[in-house]
Structures are given as C-alpha cells and as structure tokens.
Point group: C2
Chain length 320, copies 2
Amino acid sequence: MVAGVVSALELLRIMKENNIDNYYPVEIAVMNNEEGVRFGIPVSNSRAMVGLIEEGELDNIKDKDGISLRKAIIDFGITPNLANAKRTKNSIKAFIELHIEQGPVLEHNNKKIGIVETIVGFDKYSVKFIGQSGHAGTTPMANRKDALVAASEFILAVNNVVKEVGLGTVGTVGELNLTPNASNVIPNYVQLSVDIRSTENDNLQKSYEKLVKEIETIKKQRNVDIEMKRTLRIDPVYMSKEMIDIMECIANKLNLPYMRMNSGAIHDAMVMANIAPAAMIFVPSKGGLSHHPDEWTEYIDLKRGIELMLYTLLELCKRG
Amino acid sequence: MVAGVVSALELLRIMKENNIDNYYPVEIAVMNNEEGVRFGIPVSNSRAMVGLIEEGELDNIKDKDGISLRKAIIDFGITPNLANAKRTKNSIKAFIELHIEQGPVLEHNNKKIGIVETIVGFDKYSVKFIGQSGHAGTTPMANRKDALVAASEFILAVNNVVKEVGLGTVGTVGELNLTPNASNVIPNYVQLSVDIRSTENDNLQKSYEKLVKEIETIKKQRNVDIEMKRTLRIDPVYMSKEMIDIMECIANKLNLPYMRMNSGAIHDAMVMANIAPAAMIFVPSKGGLSHHPDEWTEYIDLKRGIELMLYTLLELCKRG
C-alpha cells in the first residue's frame, strides 16, 4: 500500500509543480485491507467502491477478538457510509494501481517495470486423506493404508499437473496437518490445502480434472480414501487492453526496461475492473520478498514506475 | 503386559493343580514400563534385571512433571535396589515372554500362534528440508524451492527403498512438521521422522545408503537443502534357536495353527536375551490394534498361547 500511496502523492506534486492542466479530474484512492489479514476478507475498500459490500457485512464480519468491521471503522474515527463510498459503473474513466511485484519475475528477467495483463484467478481446495494407523514396526508394508504416503503422491501430482497445464498456471500445497503425528505410528489422516492459480479459467478447470484423475489412481494404489472439496473459485480478471497499449507505448518512448506480465496475487484493481477500465504497474521486489521485514524496492525503480504512471495519466486525461 | 501376566499365573495354577514336578524352578517376572511412556525410556525392568541401569539413571530420568524414576518407585511403595534386581549371565536357564502381536500378521495369515524368530532392529532418523518460502501466486514453478515437494518425494522414496531392500524391512514417516504451514505460502522448511526396522543389520545399512542416494537426487532436482541425522540405532535380537525348535515341535504335536514370524516392536525378551536364551510367543491382536481402546485377543487364542508356553516350560524343566 505504501509504495502506491507515495507514488500517487508524488504524481500530484509533479502535476502541481509543473502547472499541468488536465481535462479529466485526478483523484487518489488510498485503500487499506487489500490483504484481508485482520478480518479475513481482502480488498474491502475497492469492494465498497464498486458496491459489493452490503450493510450486514459491516456487522457480521469480525476479527479474532470479536470486533466487527463497523466498530473498527468507528473506533478509527470514521463513520461508515456505504452509499457514499459507492461509485457507479462508467463514472470513472480509468483506474491505475502501482504495486510492488511481490514476486521474483522482474528481477529474474532483469526488467524494472511490469505492465500487468491479467490478475490470475484461483481455485482453493481442501483435500482429506483417510487411511489407517498402525504400529510402524508390526505392520507389513503390503498391509498399510498410509495417509501420508498417499498425500505425498498427491503433492507431487499437484506440482506436475500445473506444469503440464502450462505457463501462467501455478499450484501450491502450503498447509498440511497429519494425525497422529508420532514417529512410530503410521499416519491415518492428512488434511492439506491446494492453491491453484492461472490466467485462464480453462487451465483451472483442466488442472482440476487432472487432479481428480490422479486421486482415483492414488486411491487404488495406496488403499486410502481421498476427498477433495473446492473452497474458493475466483475468476481471472483482465486489465484494460487500451491502457496496456498506452503504457507500453510510453514505456518504449521513455526507454523503460519493461515487460508484460501477470499478477499472481489479488489486488484492488481486480475489483475496480468491475466498474472502470483498470491497469496495474509493477515495480520490482528485491529477492521477490513481500510481507517480510526485508521487503524492499529501490528508489530508482519506484521513480520509473511513477514516471510511467504520470505519462499514462497525462495521455488518458488528454483524450476527450 | 496384562496378557503376559495372566498367562504366567494361569500356567503356575495348572502346574500346581496337576502336581507337576519340575527339575528347574519356575519364576514369574512381572515387568511394567515396556513401552517407556511416562519416562521416555522403555524396557526398564528387563534392563535392571540384566544390569543395564546405573544408579544415576534412577535420579536423572524424569517424567514431564519432573518426578524422577527413583521417586516414582518410592512413591509406589518400593525401595529401588538395583543390585537386588540384577541377575547374572547364565543364571537363568530360559526366558519366555507371551505377548499380543500388536500387528495384523497372524490374522492375515489365519494363524493363532506366532513363534518369534527375531525382534527387529531399527534406525531412527530426523530429516530436515530447507527451501525458500514465497507467495503461492507470484512465484513461478521454475523458481521454487518448495520444502514440502522435496519432502513428499523423500517420503515416497522411504516407502520404495524398504520394499526394494525386501521382506522383513519396513519404513515409516510418522511425524512431519512444516513452516509456515499457510495455504498461500510455499513451505520453506519441513522436519520429518524416519523409522526403519529390519531383521538384519545389513538391510538397515542398505536402506540408509539408498536413502542417502535418493537425497542427493532430490536435492538437485528440487533445489532444496536436505540434512539427515540418525537419532537411534538398535540392533536386531535373535531368539533362542533351541527354544524355537522346541516350541515348533510342541505346536505341531498340539495341532496349533502357528507360524514363525518376527516382532516389529521391542520387548523385554530382547533385553533378557543378553543374559539368557529367550523366546517369545505371540497371540493374535484383533484387527492388528494395540494401544487402543479396541485392543482385543480372544480367550481361546490366549488359551492356545498358554498351552504352548506350558508344554515348552515342561520340556525345558525336564532337561538336566
């Protein structure tokens, strides 16, 4: 959030200092809670702006101490007013978000600017493996129903499946819990999470179908029951082609080392795309790190992002 | 413990009721703490009998509330006396232990008696996988150092390696912990336990060597550091061949449906074999269950075990 806010402020400062006149008004939208850490629900500011938050949500959604979203906003000194927050469709000419990449792609490609084409969609699954516990010494290998062995095969399958499906698709098993988790007992139960992201809904669906097949094979080979349940589906969101072209043209003129790329994380621009043409500019994250004390973007890199945003804005504001 | 104690008492009752005279004295050794649950150290009674417990151990070994083994024994109303507990080598003609199988082998083979040939030895390892965390959406598959994917490959390797090494060797990964264990973050660290058991030290060593090779391959393929450390090595222990032959002969005479087999769990007979010829009789565990409320052995099955123990004892006591 900080890089985005600082960049927007800097942009307005430059415009004022240079007495730049613009046909369309420029507005800064400072959004917090993109990550949804405290209340478990992300991008709540943009969701309010596009009218996707109902009054009830302010009261029903609570943090781990039981404090509602409404109370947290009031405690902060603001009166929640959803009607005021809401903007109507087509009332905004364009929305631009500058963000740190939160990944290693720019660094690996030796580029300084990312022009985002697609914010990936994703599927989340919860998968349960139900085997049978047994003594690690007295149960012959042939008689085992080892839930962790089955889960391990599935984890490798997730890794292979997304690679087969191809570029723009990634898959992660990040959470895994097993029972009883004792060194001399065969695990009888494993629960794990699957997170699959792709620029195409088709690829999410293909990954799902391949995983279902893999599960059938693993079930038979390992004598373990497996249940997979989808817990979330978010469609990919495409940034404005017109704005991408403008940005690319400007990046070329300014000799900025840019690349077109996708965003693997969700962003407010994804939500704003519901009511306005939206665009995103990525600046490099050192080592790909984010949500980490070592998160860092060089000033020169941020400056390049601000330049691209400034000239894109001027171009957009020119048009009648 | 209960099946063993009841069987021994029943055996003496039969001998008394039938006025059976024996050349060698018969003694019941009632041993607790075979499992080592409270103090973390198993087979402490037999270890005291063979002189493997030093005075210091009584004071240094404590339960989770800080109560020493010595204090626990005194609180129970007994004065610990290691010198009294100790028996000298060759002062005992034979040691027989009857135990529930704690596994499914007898049931699967439709046998009622197991004559134990070997109590398997085992290696325990702690294995660490050190990768790099990253955002599940923004980190391309090719850039990942996913500790859980590497660990999954290793878990399957453990399963394959012990099958390659062959019958009488089993391997289990029962404990696994990962960091940060969040659905949208690539795991950067996994620690897991490996438990490998075999009737032959050679097979333990072969398994180790194969795992070391597998680790080298996984390290390279997955770009993850792996450290494996042996935390325990216990050699296999062989039961007395003479007593096995006597028991087999009697089992045949009595028409008992028996089989020769190995014990995958450690037992007091393993320790007693240090100072006396030792033998073990297994009776079936329903469903292979042990340390579980549903643990069960049919009375008729226990009776068969007692019969075998009785006639073996009579045979042993006859000999001058």
